[in-house]
Amino acid sequence: MSAAYRPSTGYRTATTIAAWVLGILWLSPLLYAIWTAFHPAAYSTRFVLGAPLTLENFVRAWHAAPFSRYFFNTTIIVIMIVGAQCVLCTLAAFAFARSKFRGRDILFSLVLLQLMISPDILAVVNYRTIRALGAVDTLFGVALPYLTSAFGIFLLRQTFMTVPRDLEDAARIEGCGTLGVLWRVYVPLARPVYLAYGLVQVSFHWNNFLWPLIITNSVETRPLTVGLSVFSSVDQGIDWSVITAATLMTSGPLLVGFLVFQRQFVQSFMRAGIR
């Protein structure tokens, strides 16, 4: 703020204290889980300075369930979905942004319907479709309903509409076809949007639970989220040291990624959320 309007020191101290109390309150459930995961079971609920640190709980969790397989499954699913979405949403967004054809606006509003109604809400019918395709309990079956996204189409269309026509005309004169124009002019200009969209989608599908829960029923296909819920409900009883370790392990890559790319993450969510 400018020098003309400086808040009083009393007010500033009060806000700072309130902000910190809320911050600590906010982190406390997570910090408690971190404490328990990194200490031997004897110290899991005793907060003693200098309690011995250990990775034992993580080792036990890793060996107690096929987490490496779950990590693999989640990675494949996320790559399939985000890869396909980048291609398919780009093509569709380009058509909506730059082509004129009969029924375009009606079609676009029909596409937007999926913003509100995601495939897992229609699970009863979608499960039937996946079964008819023989894709129940496959990684492809988990990914299939999400291979394109209304949100991606919408976001990229908005971006493509801001690209000056002159650039496209120039590329066409140089001899570019439609796909050439798309690849050389539109996609490079939309790079920050792809990054933002990609981050949001990776974290969304890394965390997705209900649909994979419905469609998978074996170790070979379960993603991390479903694997973790099976692990903590059935296998472990109430060994909290191991469960918290497993929990942190499965969200670890996202958490680390978030801490490293904090600024990009926050900006991506912001950009992606404002419709």
Partner: protein
């Protein structure tokens, strides 16, 4: 906003000039090209969103197919059964409580967080991270963390409360507290997410306004009530609609933490659909429930559209 009509009219002029230059053949091949670009997305969206909506509606008028009894048309029977089921009303009530419980609290906290981090206070970067971190975690991980936090006697909550002489409490196991405990988790997960939208909007408010208000001698509270809050209205609308949608669409943490119990105290509509459809395999009942959920979500979409389009005039 004032530039908008001008920009629109030039865009219109350009596009009006476009087709005039094109021969019918060019126009035809142009739309074929557009349809080819759209084809994969349209097929996928139709298969997993639009056709299922219609199929769900049709199925809701048919009985559930059983091995010895094929599906047959039953009219409104599924809906009559649904309305007669006390569990349905309980679930709708829970959903309403859940929505009313999460929304004002998330909005108030998100706004407070945004105002805190928008000021230059010590440790601003750390606090922003602390508020936002729950957003990045998978809901399943969040559920586990809170399950542990709530554990009777052993969890952090009871450990802290013990200092105040409160005994072990089964927060998730009691009818009176279970839904409140679930609501707390949702607020924890969501508030940081909504914070960033408020933060973005706060940074858009021109500093001159604040200076002008200072010169006029307006108090901090008056400035907030008369300037900041009205300027944040579009964000509040966005957050409001999203919070309601989330209240109807998120069941991950409920599935893990309580499974809808104890005695359906935390059961919500989508969870009931899941249980009816995939535990009892009762297609007729599950599709009728899905139609109710679709109606709720469409109503929200309509509300957002109407309010948002009315707002454009004085933005």
């Amino acid at each position: 906003m004032t530039h908008q009509p001008a920009a629109d009219s030039t865009a219109f002029a350009a596009s009006a000039a476009g087709p005039a230059r094109q021969s019918p053949w060019q126009r035809w091949s142009g739309s074929v090209e557009a349809w080819l670009l759209l084809l994969p997305s349209v097929v996928l969206l139709a298969t997993f969103t639009h056709i299922p909506i219609v199929a769900t509606l049709i199925d809701s008028f048919y009985s559930t197919p059983r091995p010895n009894r094929p599906s047959r048309f039953v009219g409104l029977r599924n809906y009559e059964d649904m309305v007669a089921d006390p569990l349905f009303w309980k679930v709708m009530w829970n959903n309403a409580v859940y929505a009313v419980g999460t929304i004002p609290l998330s909005i108030a906290l998100a706004l407070a967080m945004a105002l805190f981090v928008n000021d230059r206070i010590p440790g601003r970067g750390f606090l922003r991270m602390a508020y936002f971190t729950p957003t990045v975690l998978p809901m399943i991980a969040v559920a586990n963390i809170w399950l542990f936090f709530y554990t009777p006697d052993y969890g952090l909550l009871d450990q802290v409360l013990r200092l105040f002489g409160v005994g072990a409490t089964n927060w998730l196991g009691m009818q009176e507290t279970a839904l409140g405990a679930i609501i707390t988790v949702a607020v924890w997960k969501e508030a940081g997410f909504f914070m960033i939208f408020y933060l973005a909007a706060l940074q858009q408010i021109p500093p001159d306004l604040r200076e002008a208000a200072a010169i006029e001698g307006a108090s901090r509270w008056t400035f907030f009530r008369r300037v900041t809050w009205p300027l944040l209205a579009p964000v509040t609308l966005f957050v409001l609609v999203n919070a309601i949608i989330n209240a109807f669409r998120t069941v991950d943490h409920i599935l893990v933490m309580t499974h809808g119990g104890p005695d359906n105290a935390t059961n919500v509509l989508l969870l009931m659909i899941y249980e009816t459809g995939f535990k009892f395999w009762d297609q007729g009942a599950a599709t009728a429930l899905t139609i109710v959920l679709l109606a709720v979500l469409s109503g929200l979409a309509l509300f957002q559209f109407v309010v948002a389009s009315r707002r454009v005039h004085y933005q």
